[in-house]
Protein backbone atom coordinates (compact mmCIF):
# COMPACT_ATOMS: atom_id res chain seq x y z
CA UNK A 1 0.00 0.00 0.00
CA UNK A 2 1.11 3.51 -0.65
CA UNK A 3 2.37 5.29 2.41
CA UNK A 4 3.72 8.79 2.02
CA UNK A 5 7.27 9.22 3.24
CA UNK A 6 7.67 11.01 6.57
CA UNK A 7 8.46 14.66 6.11
CA UNK A 8 5.73 15.31 3.63
CA UNK A 9 7.40 14.77 0.26
CA UNK A 10 5.71 12.02 -1.67
CA UNK A 11 7.87 9.53 -3.53
CA UNK A 12 6.71 9.57 -7.11
CA UNK A 13 8.04 6.39 -8.60
CA UNK A 14 6.04 5.29 -11.59
CA UNK A 15 5.06 1.95 -10.14
CA UNK A 16 3.84 3.48 -6.95
CA UNK A 17 1.71 6.22 -8.53
CA UNK A 18 0.30 3.65 -10.92
CA UNK A 19 -0.65 1.48 -7.96
CA UNK A 20 -2.31 4.39 -6.22
CA UNK A 21 -4.24 5.29 -9.34
CA UNK A 22 -5.36 1.73 -9.72
CA UNK A 23 -6.52 1.49 -6.11
CA UNK A 24 -8.44 4.77 -6.22
CA UNK A 25 -10.05 3.83 -9.50
CA UNK A 26 -10.87 0.44 -8.04
CA UNK A 27 -12.83 2.13 -5.26
CA UNK A 28 -14.86 4.28 -7.64
CA UNK A 29 -15.24 1.73 -10.44
CA UNK A 30 -18.46 0.06 -9.20
CA UNK A 31 -20.05 3.49 -9.01
CA UNK A 32 -18.73 4.46 -12.45
CA UNK A 33 -19.88 1.17 -13.96
CA UNK A 34 -23.41 1.84 -12.75
CA UNK A 35 -23.30 5.42 -14.03
CA UNK A 36 -22.35 4.07 -17.44
CA UNK A 37 -25.07 1.40 -17.45
CA UNK A 38 -28.01 3.23 -15.87
CA UNK A 39 -27.31 6.86 -16.81
CA UNK A 40 -24.82 7.53 -19.59
CA UNK A 41 -25.83 4.77 -21.98
CA UNK A 42 -29.62 5.22 -21.58
CA UNK A 43 -29.16 8.98 -21.93
CA UNK A 44 -27.46 8.56 -25.29
CA UNK A 45 -29.87 5.78 -26.22
CA UNK A 46 -32.86 8.07 -25.58
CA UNK A 47 -31.51 10.78 -27.86
CA UNK A 48 -30.55 8.21 -30.54
CA UNK A 49 -33.95 6.54 -30.33
CA UNK A 50 -35.77 9.84 -30.82
CA UNK A 51 -34.10 10.21 -34.25
CA UNK A 52 -34.78 6.66 -35.41
CA UNK A 53 -37.78 4.53 -36.21
CA UNK A 54 -37.43 2.40 -33.10
CA UNK A 55 -39.88 -0.37 -32.25
CA UNK A 56 -40.04 -3.34 -29.90
CA UNK A 57 -38.54 -6.48 -31.40
CA UNK A 58 -37.92 -9.95 -30.02
CA UNK A 59 -34.89 -9.90 -27.66
CA UNK A 60 -32.33 -11.48 -30.00
CA UNK A 61 -33.79 -10.52 -33.37
CA UNK A 62 -31.48 -8.52 -35.60
CA UNK A 63 -33.51 -5.65 -36.98
CA UNK A 64 -32.76 -2.33 -38.64
CA UNK A 65 -33.91 0.86 -37.01
CA UNK A 66 -33.85 3.39 -39.86
CA UNK A 67 -32.79 6.99 -39.24
CA UNK A 68 -35.81 9.26 -39.62
CA UNK A 69 -34.40 12.64 -38.65
CA UNK A 70 -36.96 14.85 -36.96
CA UNK A 71 -39.96 12.72 -37.89
CA UNK A 72 -40.66 11.63 -34.30
CA UNK A 73 -40.43 15.23 -33.15
CA UNK A 74 -42.80 16.31 -35.91
CA UNK A 75 -45.24 13.60 -34.82
CA UNK A 76 -44.99 14.72 -31.20
CA UNK A 77 -45.38 18.42 -31.92
CA UNK A 78 -48.40 17.91 -34.17
CA UNK A 79 -50.10 15.61 -31.64
CA UNK A 80 -52.90 17.60 -29.93
CA UNK A 81 -52.70 15.33 -26.86
CA UNK A 82 -49.03 16.20 -26.36
CA UNK A 83 -49.71 19.90 -26.76
CA UNK A 84 -52.52 19.61 -24.24
CA UNK A 85 -50.20 17.76 -21.81
CA UNK A 86 -47.56 20.51 -22.01
CA UNK A 87 -50.33 23.08 -21.58
CA UNK A 88 -51.49 21.15 -18.51
CA UNK A 89 -47.99 21.43 -17.04
CA UNK A 90 -48.19 25.19 -17.57
CA UNK A 91 -51.53 25.24 -15.69
CA UNK A 92 -49.91 23.11 -12.99
CA UNK A 93 -47.02 25.57 -12.60
CA UNK A 94 -49.32 28.62 -12.55
CA UNK A 95 -51.11 27.17 -9.51
CA UNK A 96 -48.36 25.15 -7.87
CA UNK A 97 -45.41 27.59 -7.87
CA UNK A 98 -47.10 30.61 -6.21
CA UNK A 99 -48.82 28.33 -3.69
CA UNK A 100 -45.57 26.52 -2.90
CA UNK A 101 -43.41 29.64 -2.64
CA UNK A 102 -46.00 31.67 -0.71
CA UNK A 103 -47.10 29.06 1.80
CA UNK A 104 -43.67 27.58 2.47
CA UNK A 105 -42.10 31.01 3.01
CA UNK A 106 -44.90 32.18 5.33
CA UNK A 107 -44.85 28.93 7.33
CA UNK A 108 -41.04 28.87 7.48
CA UNK A 109 -40.86 32.42 8.79
CA UNK A 110 -43.57 31.62 11.33
CA UNK A 111 -41.53 28.59 12.42
CA UNK A 112 -38.26 30.53 12.52
CA UNK A 113 -38.67 31.74 16.11
CA UNK A 114 -38.69 30.39 19.62
CA UNK A 115 -42.13 28.86 19.81
CA UNK A 116 -43.92 26.23 21.83
CA UNK A 117 -44.47 22.92 19.97
CA UNK A 118 -41.95 23.84 17.31
CA UNK A 119 -40.87 20.26 16.62
CA UNK A 120 -44.53 19.17 16.49
CA UNK A 121 -45.16 21.71 13.72
CA UNK A 122 -42.08 20.68 11.80
CA UNK A 123 -43.12 17.04 12.00
CA UNK A 124 -46.68 17.84 10.91
CA UNK A 125 -45.51 19.70 7.82
CA UNK A 126 -42.92 17.10 6.89
CA UNK A 127 -45.22 14.10 7.19
CA UNK A 128 -46.87 14.25 3.72
CA UNK A 129 -43.44 14.69 2.11
CA UNK A 130 -42.10 11.41 3.44
CA UNK A 131 -45.31 9.43 2.79
CA UNK A 132 -45.91 7.51 -0.44
CA UNK A 133 -47.79 9.38 -3.17
CA UNK A 134 -49.95 6.33 -3.83
CA UNK A 135 -51.20 6.35 -0.22
CA UNK A 136 -51.80 10.10 -0.22
CA UNK A 137 -53.60 9.95 -3.57
CA UNK A 138 -55.91 7.27 -2.13
CA UNK A 139 -56.96 9.65 0.65
CA UNK A 140 -57.45 12.65 -1.63
CA UNK A 141 -59.55 10.56 -4.03
CA UNK A 142 -61.84 9.74 -1.16
CA UNK A 143 -61.96 13.29 0.28
CA UNK A 144 -62.58 14.90 -3.15
CA UNK A 145 -64.91 12.31 -4.70
CA UNK A 146 -68.38 13.57 -5.60
CA UNK A 147 -69.88 12.28 -2.32
CA UNK A 148 -66.71 13.02 -0.36
CA UNK A 149 -66.20 15.05 2.78
CA UNK A 150 -65.08 18.20 0.92
CA UNK A 151 -68.28 18.39 -1.13
CA UNK A 152 -70.41 17.56 1.91
CA UNK A 153 -68.82 20.47 3.79
CA UNK A 154 -69.22 22.79 0.80
CA UNK A 155 -72.87 21.79 0.35
CA UNK A 156 -74.42 24.13 -2.24
CA UNK A 157 -70.98 25.44 -3.17
CA UNK A 158 -69.68 22.03 -4.27
CA UNK A 159 -68.48 22.14 -7.89
CA UNK A 160 -70.51 20.42 -10.57
CA UNK A 161 -69.12 18.17 -12.07
CA UNK A 162 -67.06 17.25 -9.01
CA UNK A 163 -63.35 18.05 -8.62
CA UNK A 164 -61.69 15.01 -10.15
CA UNK A 165 -63.99 14.79 -13.18
CA UNK A 166 -64.14 18.53 -13.81
CA UNK A 167 -62.09 19.73 -16.79
CA UNK A 168 -61.36 23.12 -15.23
CA UNK A 169 -60.65 21.90 -11.70
CA UNK A 170 -58.78 18.59 -12.18
CA UNK A 171 -55.36 20.08 -12.96
CA UNK A 172 -55.51 22.85 -10.32
CA UNK A 173 -56.48 20.20 -7.76
CA UNK A 174 -53.41 18.15 -8.72
CA UNK A 175 -51.31 21.31 -8.36
CA UNK A 176 -52.74 21.86 -4.86
CA UNK A 177 -52.17 18.20 -3.96
CA UNK A 178 -48.51 18.35 -5.01
CA UNK A 179 -48.01 21.68 -3.20
CA UNK A 180 -49.46 20.13 -0.03
CA UNK A 181 -47.40 16.95 -0.41
CA UNK A 182 -44.06 18.70 -1.02
CA UNK A 183 -44.49 21.76 1.20
CA UNK A 184 -42.57 20.26 4.15
CA UNK A 185 -39.43 19.94 2.08
CA UNK A 186 -39.63 23.54 0.89
CA UNK A 187 -40.34 24.80 4.42
CA UNK A 188 -37.10 23.13 5.58
CA UNK A 189 -35.25 24.68 2.65
CA UNK A 190 -36.53 28.15 3.53
CA UNK A 191 -35.80 27.58 7.23
CA UNK A 192 -32.17 26.93 6.30
CA UNK A 193 -32.11 30.03 4.06
CA UNK A 194 -33.62 32.21 6.79
CA UNK A 195 -30.59 31.51 9.01
CA UNK A 196 -28.54 33.59 6.56
CA UNK A 197 -30.72 36.71 6.77
CA UNK A 198 -28.92 39.14 9.11
CA UNK A 199 -30.79 39.63 12.40
CA UNK A 200 -29.63 43.27 12.56
CA UNK A 201 -31.93 44.13 9.66
CA UNK A 202 -34.97 43.06 11.68
CA UNK A 203 -33.71 44.89 14.75
CA UNK A 204 -33.23 48.18 12.92
CA UNK A 205 -36.63 47.73 11.26
CA UNK A 206 -38.09 47.26 14.75
CA UNK A 207 -36.60 50.56 15.96
CA UNK A 208 -38.09 52.24 12.89
CA UNK A 209 -41.46 50.77 13.92
CA UNK A 210 -41.96 48.61 10.83
CA UNK A 211 -44.95 46.26 10.80
CA UNK A 212 -44.63 42.48 10.58
CA UNK A 213 -45.93 42.46 7.00
CA UNK A 214 -43.57 45.27 6.02
CA UNK A 215 -40.57 43.38 7.50
CA UNK A 216 -41.63 40.19 5.73
CA UNK A 217 -41.85 41.92 2.34
CA UNK A 218 -38.78 44.15 2.67
CA UNK A 219 -36.34 41.93 4.55
CA UNK A 220 -37.39 38.27 4.44
CA UNK A 221 -38.50 37.98 0.80
CA UNK A 222 -35.37 39.59 -0.73
CA UNK A 223 -33.14 37.87 1.86
CA UNK A 224 -34.11 34.38 0.72
CA UNK A 225 -34.12 35.09 -3.02
CA UNK A 226 -31.51 32.40 -3.91
CA UNK A 227 -33.65 29.82 -2.10
CA UNK A 228 -36.70 31.01 -4.05
CA UNK A 229 -34.85 30.40 -7.31
CA UNK A 230 -34.12 26.86 -6.15
CA UNK A 231 -37.71 26.30 -5.00
CA UNK A 232 -39.09 27.39 -8.39
CA UNK A 233 -36.67 25.11 -10.25
CA UNK A 234 -37.43 22.10 -8.03
CA UNK A 235 -41.17 22.75 -8.34
CA UNK A 236 -40.78 22.89 -12.13
CA UNK A 237 -38.90 19.59 -12.19
CA UNK A 238 -41.57 18.03 -9.95
CA UNK A 239 -44.26 19.28 -12.32
CA UNK A 240 -42.43 17.88 -15.32
CA UNK A 241 -42.12 14.50 -13.53
CA UNK A 242 -45.84 14.29 -12.78
CA UNK A 243 -47.19 10.79 -13.31
CA UNK A 244 -48.74 9.14 -10.26
CA UNK A 245 -51.31 11.89 -9.68
CA UNK A 246 -52.83 12.04 -13.19
CA UNK A 247 -52.57 8.26 -13.50
CA UNK A 248 -54.40 7.49 -10.24
CA UNK A 249 -56.12 10.61 -8.91
CA UNK A 250 -57.84 11.54 -12.17
CA UNK A 251 -58.05 8.05 -13.64
CA UNK A 252 -55.44 8.32 -16.43
CA UNK A 253 -55.28 12.07 -17.04
CA UNK A 254 -58.99 12.70 -17.28
CA UNK A 255 -61.42 14.13 -17.86
CA UNK A 256 -60.73 14.15 -21.60
CA UNK A 257 -56.98 14.67 -21.18
CA UNK A 258 -57.45 17.77 -19.02
CA UNK A 259 -54.98 16.51 -16.42
CA UNK A 260 -52.71 14.35 -18.61
CA UNK A 261 -48.99 14.97 -18.11
CA UNK A 262 -46.14 14.45 -20.59
CA UNK A 263 -44.78 11.51 -18.57
CA UNK A 264 -48.23 9.90 -18.60
CA UNK A 265 -48.24 10.27 -22.41
CA UNK A 266 -44.72 8.79 -22.56
CA UNK A 267 -46.08 5.75 -20.75
CA UNK A 268 -49.16 5.49 -22.96
CA UNK A 269 -47.43 6.18 -26.29
CA UNK A 270 -44.19 4.36 -25.53
CA UNK A 271 -45.18 1.30 -23.57
CA UNK A 272 -48.93 0.77 -23.96
CA UNK A 273 -49.03 1.62 -27.66
CA UNK A 274 -45.50 0.43 -28.52
CA UNK A 275 -43.95 3.65 -29.88
CA UNK A 276 -40.82 4.07 -27.73
CA UNK A 277 -39.25 6.40 -30.33
CA UNK A 278 -42.12 8.89 -29.99
CA UNK A 279 -41.97 8.58 -26.20
CA UNK A 280 -38.22 9.27 -26.26
CA UNK A 281 -38.86 12.42 -28.32
CA UNK A 282 -41.42 13.57 -25.71
CA UNK A 283 -38.74 12.95 -23.05
CA UNK A 284 -36.15 15.08 -24.87
CA UNK A 285 -38.67 17.90 -25.35
CA UNK A 286 -39.64 17.70 -21.67
CA UNK A 287 -36.03 18.10 -20.59
CA UNK A 288 -35.61 21.08 -22.93
CA UNK A 289 -38.82 22.54 -21.42
CA UNK A 290 -37.41 22.21 -17.89
CA UNK A 291 -34.11 23.77 -18.94
CA UNK A 292 -35.91 26.69 -20.59
CA UNK A 293 -38.11 27.35 -17.53
CA UNK A 294 -35.07 27.14 -15.23
CA UNK A 295 -33.09 29.61 -17.35
CA UNK A 296 -36.01 32.08 -17.55
CA UNK A 297 -36.47 31.76 -13.80
CA UNK A 298 -32.79 32.48 -13.16
CA UNK A 299 -32.88 35.51 -15.43
CA UNK A 300 -35.96 36.85 -13.66
CA UNK A 301 -34.74 36.31 -10.10
CA UNK A 302 -31.20 37.58 -10.73
CA UNK A 303 -32.34 40.77 -12.43
CA UNK A 304 -31.54 43.09 -9.57
Amino acid sequence: MSSPAPGGTRPRSIGRSFGRNLLGLGFVSPYLAFVAVVFAYPFGFAVWMSFHDYFFAAPNAIVEYPFVGLENYAAVLSDPDVRQAFGNIAVFLVFNVPLTVGLSLVLASALNAKLPMRSFFRAAYYLPYITASVAMVGIWMWLFSSGGLVNKVLGQLAPEPSWLVNETLAMPLIAVFVAWKQLGFFIMLYLAALQNVPKELYESADTDGASTVRKFLSITVPGVRPATTLVVIVATITGANLFTEPYLLTGGGGPDGASASPVLLMYQRGIEQGNPDVAAAIGVLLVLFVLAVSLINRKLTERD
Partner: protein, 281 residues
Protein backbone atom coordinates in the same frame (compact mmCIF):
# COMPACT_ATOMS: atom_id res chain seq x y z
CA UNK B 1 -41.76 45.30 27.75
CA UNK B 2 -39.84 43.58 25.02
CA UNK B 3 -41.05 40.15 26.16
CA UNK B 4 -44.66 41.33 26.41
CA UNK B 5 -44.46 42.56 22.84
CA UNK B 6 -43.01 39.26 21.67
CA UNK B 7 -45.76 37.22 23.38
CA UNK B 8 -48.49 39.20 21.67
CA UNK B 9 -46.62 38.77 18.42
CA UNK B 10 -46.44 35.03 19.01
CA UNK B 11 -50.19 34.53 19.05
CA UNK B 12 -50.95 35.20 15.35
CA UNK B 13 -47.87 33.16 14.49
CA UNK B 14 -49.14 30.23 16.51
CA UNK B 15 -52.61 30.51 14.98
CA UNK B 16 -51.16 30.40 11.46
CA UNK B 17 -49.03 27.40 12.37
CA UNK B 18 -51.90 25.57 14.05
CA UNK B 19 -54.21 26.10 11.09
CA UNK B 20 -51.46 24.80 8.81
CA UNK B 21 -50.79 21.77 10.98
CA UNK B 22 -54.50 20.86 10.91
CA UNK B 23 -54.53 21.03 7.11
CA UNK B 24 -51.48 18.78 7.01
CA UNK B 25 -52.55 16.22 9.57
CA UNK B 26 -56.27 15.98 8.80
CA UNK B 27 -55.85 13.68 5.74
CA UNK B 28 -53.75 11.32 7.87
CA UNK B 29 -56.36 11.35 10.60
CA UNK B 30 -59.16 10.62 8.15
CA UNK B 31 -57.07 7.89 6.52
CA UNK B 32 -56.64 6.02 9.81
CA UNK B 33 -60.21 6.67 10.89
CA UNK B 34 -61.70 5.68 7.51
CA UNK B 35 -59.66 2.49 7.41
CA UNK B 36 -61.22 1.44 10.73
CA UNK B 37 -64.85 2.16 9.78
CA UNK B 38 -66.89 -0.59 8.15
CA UNK B 39 -67.97 2.01 5.58
CA UNK B 40 -65.77 5.11 5.75
CA UNK B 41 -68.07 7.99 6.47
CA UNK B 42 -67.91 11.25 4.54
CA UNK B 43 -70.37 12.97 6.83
CA UNK B 44 -68.83 16.02 8.53
CA UNK B 45 -70.71 15.04 11.69
CA UNK B 46 -68.76 11.75 11.82
CA UNK B 47 -65.35 13.42 12.05
CA UNK B 48 -65.35 12.31 15.68
CA UNK B 49 -66.40 8.68 15.38
CA UNK B 50 -68.26 6.28 17.58
CA UNK B 51 -65.46 4.07 18.97
CA UNK B 52 -67.71 1.02 19.24
CA UNK B 53 -68.26 0.95 15.46
CA UNK B 54 -64.57 0.57 14.59
CA UNK B 55 -63.42 -2.63 12.88
CA UNK B 56 -60.39 -4.18 11.22
CA UNK B 57 -62.58 -5.55 8.40
CA UNK B 58 -61.05 -3.29 5.74
CA UNK B 59 -57.60 -4.71 6.43
CA UNK B 60 -58.82 -8.25 5.80
CA UNK B 61 -60.69 -6.97 2.73
CA UNK B 62 -57.57 -5.44 1.15
CA UNK B 63 -55.58 -8.52 2.14
CA UNK B 64 -58.03 -10.64 0.14
CA UNK B 65 -57.50 -8.56 -2.99
CA UNK B 66 -53.81 -7.68 -2.65
CA UNK B 67 -51.46 -10.22 -1.05
CA UNK B 68 -50.37 -7.74 1.59
CA UNK B 69 -47.57 -9.74 3.20
CA UNK B 70 -46.10 -10.66 -0.14
CA UNK B 71 -46.32 -7.02 -1.33
CA UNK B 72 -44.72 -5.74 1.89
CA UNK B 73 -41.93 -8.33 1.48
CA UNK B 74 -41.38 -7.19 -2.12
CA UNK B 75 -41.21 -3.57 -0.99
CA UNK B 76 -38.77 -4.62 1.72
CA UNK B 77 -36.49 -6.50 -0.68
CA UNK B 78 -36.57 -3.61 -3.17
CA UNK B 79 -35.85 -1.06 -0.44
CA UNK B 80 -33.21 -3.22 1.25
CA UNK B 81 -31.41 -3.86 -2.04
CA UNK B 82 -31.34 -0.18 -2.89
CA UNK B 83 -30.06 0.74 0.59
CA UNK B 84 -27.33 -1.91 0.43
CA UNK B 85 -26.10 -0.79 -3.00
CA UNK B 86 -26.31 2.89 -2.03
CA UNK B 87 -24.25 2.36 1.12
CA UNK B 88 -21.61 0.04 -0.40
CA UNK B 89 -20.99 2.02 -3.59
CA UNK B 90 -21.47 5.32 -1.80
CA UNK B 91 -18.90 4.54 0.92
CA UNK B 92 -16.33 3.27 -1.58
CA UNK B 93 -16.68 6.19 -3.99
CA UNK B 94 -17.08 8.80 -1.23
CA UNK B 95 -13.96 7.53 0.57
CA UNK B 96 -11.89 7.47 -2.61
CA UNK B 97 -12.97 10.99 -3.56
CA UNK B 98 -12.20 12.38 -0.11
CA UNK B 99 -9.05 10.54 0.94
CA UNK B 100 -7.33 8.92 -2.02
CA UNK B 101 -5.32 10.55 -4.75
CA UNK B 102 -5.75 9.18 -8.20
CA UNK B 103 -5.75 10.38 -11.75
CA UNK B 104 -9.22 11.45 -12.87
CA UNK B 105 -10.52 12.19 -9.39
CA UNK B 106 -11.82 15.59 -10.49
CA UNK B 107 -13.60 14.02 -13.44
CA UNK B 108 -15.26 11.42 -11.20
CA UNK B 109 -16.44 14.14 -8.83
CA UNK B 110 -17.79 16.07 -11.81
CA UNK B 111 -19.69 12.94 -12.83
CA UNK B 112 -21.22 12.68 -9.35
CA UNK B 113 -22.59 16.21 -9.66
CA UNK B 114 -23.68 15.76 -13.29
CA UNK B 115 -25.62 12.53 -12.69
CA UNK B 116 -27.87 14.38 -10.25
CA UNK B 117 -29.02 16.60 -13.10
CA UNK B 118 -30.12 13.81 -15.44
CA UNK B 119 -33.90 13.64 -15.24
CA UNK B 120 -35.49 10.23 -14.87
CA UNK B 121 -38.21 10.94 -17.46
CA UNK B 122 -35.59 10.94 -20.17
CA UNK B 123 -34.14 7.62 -18.99
CA UNK B 124 -37.46 5.89 -18.40
CA UNK B 125 -38.05 4.65 -21.95
CA UNK B 126 -34.49 3.48 -22.76
CA UNK B 127 -34.20 1.82 -19.33
CA UNK B 128 -37.48 0.05 -19.97
CA UNK B 129 -36.24 -1.14 -23.37
CA UNK B 130 -32.94 -2.32 -21.91
CA UNK B 131 -34.09 -3.92 -18.68
CA UNK B 132 -37.42 -5.38 -19.74
CA UNK B 133 -36.91 -6.05 -23.45
CA UNK B 134 -33.19 -6.69 -23.89
CA UNK B 135 -32.08 -8.20 -20.59
CA UNK B 136 -35.39 -9.91 -19.80
CA UNK B 137 -35.37 -8.60 -16.22
CA UNK B 138 -39.09 -7.82 -16.03
CA UNK B 139 -40.64 -9.18 -12.83
CA UNK B 140 -37.27 -9.67 -11.14
CA UNK B 141 -35.90 -7.92 -8.08
CA UNK B 142 -32.71 -7.11 -10.00
CA UNK B 143 -34.74 -5.30 -12.65
CA UNK B 144 -36.55 -3.21 -10.03
CA UNK B 145 -33.38 -2.35 -8.09
CA UNK B 146 -30.92 -1.71 -10.93
CA UNK B 147 -31.80 1.91 -11.84
CA UNK B 148 -31.67 2.88 -8.15
CA UNK B 149 -28.45 1.03 -7.33
CA UNK B 150 -26.33 4.15 -7.42
CA UNK B 151 -27.14 7.27 -5.55
CA UNK B 152 -24.94 10.24 -6.28
CA UNK B 153 -26.33 12.15 -3.34
CA UNK B 154 -25.06 9.44 -1.01
CA UNK B 155 -21.59 9.60 -2.62
CA UNK B 156 -21.61 13.34 -2.11
CA UNK B 157 -22.76 13.12 1.54
CA UNK B 158 -20.14 10.46 2.38
CA UNK B 159 -17.42 12.45 0.65
CA UNK B 160 -18.29 15.56 2.69
CA UNK B 161 -18.13 13.57 5.94
CA UNK B 162 -14.88 11.80 5.06
CA UNK B 163 -13.29 15.14 4.16
CA UNK B 164 -13.98 16.47 7.66
CA UNK B 165 -11.98 13.70 9.33
CA UNK B 166 -8.40 14.67 10.27
CA UNK B 167 -5.81 13.47 7.79
CA UNK B 168 -3.39 12.34 10.51
CA UNK B 169 -5.76 9.56 11.44
CA UNK B 170 -5.39 7.98 8.03
CA UNK B 171 -1.69 8.74 7.55
CA UNK B 172 -0.70 6.93 10.74
CA UNK B 173 -2.81 3.89 9.84
CA UNK B 174 -1.15 3.82 6.42
CA UNK B 175 2.30 3.97 8.03
CA UNK B 176 1.26 1.01 10.19
CA UNK B 177 0.61 -0.82 6.93
CA UNK B 178 -3.19 -0.97 6.97
CA UNK B 179 -4.82 -1.37 3.59
CA UNK B 180 -7.08 1.37 2.27
CA UNK B 181 -10.09 -0.92 2.51
CA UNK B 182 -9.30 -1.70 6.14
CA UNK B 183 -8.84 2.00 6.90
CA UNK B 184 -12.15 2.79 5.30
CA UNK B 185 -14.02 0.01 7.09
CA UNK B 186 -12.36 0.15 10.52
CA UNK B 187 -11.53 3.83 10.95
CA UNK B 188 -13.46 6.07 8.59
CA UNK B 189 -16.86 4.33 8.51
CA UNK B 190 -17.33 4.00 12.31
CA UNK B 191 -16.58 7.72 12.64
CA UNK B 192 -19.29 8.45 10.08
CA UNK B 193 -22.11 6.54 11.76
CA UNK B 194 -24.37 9.62 11.91
CA UNK B 195 -23.94 10.17 8.16
CA UNK B 196 -24.54 6.49 7.58
CA UNK B 197 -27.77 6.46 9.57
CA UNK B 198 -29.03 9.61 7.83
CA UNK B 199 -28.26 8.14 4.42
CA UNK B 200 -30.01 4.87 5.23
CA UNK B 201 -33.10 6.69 6.51
CA UNK B 202 -33.29 9.02 3.54
CA UNK B 203 -32.66 6.19 1.10
CA UNK B 204 -35.45 4.21 2.69
CA UNK B 205 -38.29 6.54 1.72
CA UNK B 206 -37.27 6.69 -1.95
CA UNK B 207 -37.73 3.04 -3.01
CA UNK B 208 -40.41 2.34 -0.40
CA UNK B 209 -42.60 5.09 -1.87
CA UNK B 210 -41.49 4.67 -5.51
CA UNK B 211 -44.28 3.92 -7.94
CA UNK B 212 -43.44 4.60 -11.60
CA UNK B 213 -40.44 2.35 -12.18
CA UNK B 214 -41.65 -0.80 -10.33
CA UNK B 215 -45.02 -0.23 -12.00
CA UNK B 216 -43.30 -0.42 -15.41
CA UNK B 217 -41.24 -3.54 -14.72
CA UNK B 218 -43.62 -5.70 -12.67
CA UNK B 219 -46.69 -7.20 -14.25
CA UNK B 220 -46.75 -10.31 -12.05
CA UNK B 221 -48.78 -9.54 -8.91
CA UNK B 222 -46.43 -11.71 -6.83
CA UNK B 223 -43.50 -9.44 -7.67
CA UNK B 224 -45.16 -6.08 -7.12
CA UNK B 225 -44.14 -3.79 -4.27
CA UNK B 226 -47.00 -2.54 -2.12
CA UNK B 227 -47.23 0.87 -3.81
CA UNK B 228 -47.79 -0.81 -7.18
CA UNK B 229 -50.19 -3.43 -5.84
CA UNK B 230 -52.27 -0.79 -4.09
CA UNK B 231 -52.26 1.50 -7.15
CA UNK B 232 -53.49 -1.37 -9.31
CA UNK B 233 -56.23 -2.06 -6.80
CA UNK B 234 -57.21 1.63 -6.85
CA UNK B 235 -57.29 1.90 -10.64
CA UNK B 236 -59.02 -1.46 -11.26
CA UNK B 237 -61.53 -1.57 -8.48
CA UNK B 238 -62.26 1.96 -7.38
CA UNK B 239 -64.72 2.63 -10.18
CA UNK B 240 -66.76 -0.55 -9.79
CA UNK B 241 -66.98 -1.52 -6.15
CA UNK B 242 -69.85 -0.09 -4.11
CA UNK B 243 -67.62 0.98 -1.25
CA UNK B 244 -63.98 0.57 -2.25
CA UNK B 245 -62.57 3.29 -0.03
CA UNK B 246 -62.39 1.29 3.19
CA UNK B 247 -59.98 -1.18 1.60
CA UNK B 248 -58.03 1.59 -0.18
CA UNK B 249 -57.58 3.52 3.07
CA UNK B 250 -56.49 0.36 4.89
CA UNK B 251 -53.90 -0.32 2.17
CA UNK B 252 -52.76 3.31 2.33
CA UNK B 253 -52.23 2.96 6.10
CA UNK B 254 -50.05 -0.13 5.60
CA UNK B 255 -48.05 1.64 2.88
CA UNK B 256 -47.62 4.83 4.91
CA UNK B 257 -46.86 3.21 8.28
CA UNK B 258 -43.16 2.21 7.95
CA UNK B 259 -41.97 5.57 6.58
CA UNK B 260 -44.06 7.49 9.12
CA UNK B 261 -42.83 5.28 11.98
CA UNK B 262 -39.17 5.71 10.98
CA UNK B 263 -39.72 9.42 10.62
CA UNK B 264 -41.26 9.78 14.07
CA UNK B 265 -38.52 7.64 15.64
CA UNK B 266 -35.63 9.50 13.98
CA UNK B 267 -37.24 12.89 13.40
CA UNK B 268 -34.15 14.98 13.94
CA UNK B 269 -32.15 12.99 11.42
CA UNK B 270 -34.76 13.56 8.76
CA UNK B 271 -35.14 17.26 9.40
CA UNK B 272 -31.70 18.59 10.25
CA UNK B 273 -29.98 16.81 7.46
CA UNK B 274 -28.36 17.72 4.20
CA UNK B 275 -31.26 19.25 2.33
CA UNK B 276 -29.78 18.82 -1.09
CA UNK B 277 -30.45 15.11 -0.84
CA UNK B 278 -34.15 15.52 -1.45
CA UNK B 279 -33.71 17.74 -4.43
CA UNK B 280 -33.61 15.08 -7.08
CA UNK B 281 -37.23 14.31 -6.22
Amino acid sequence: MRSAASTTRRIPRLLVLLAGACAFLFPFYSMVLGSLQAEPSSEPSDVLPDPSGLTLGNYTAINDRVPLLRAVANSGIFTGGVILCTVVFGLLAGYALAQMHFRGRGAVFGTVLLVQLVPFQLLMIPLYVMIVRSYGLADTYLGIILPFAINSTAVFVFRQFFMQLPRELFESARIDGASELAIMLRIATPLCKPALLTTVLLTFIGPWNEFLWPFLVTKDADMQPLAVALANYISNVAGRAANPYGAILAGACVLAAPAVALFLAFQRRFVSTDLGSGIKG
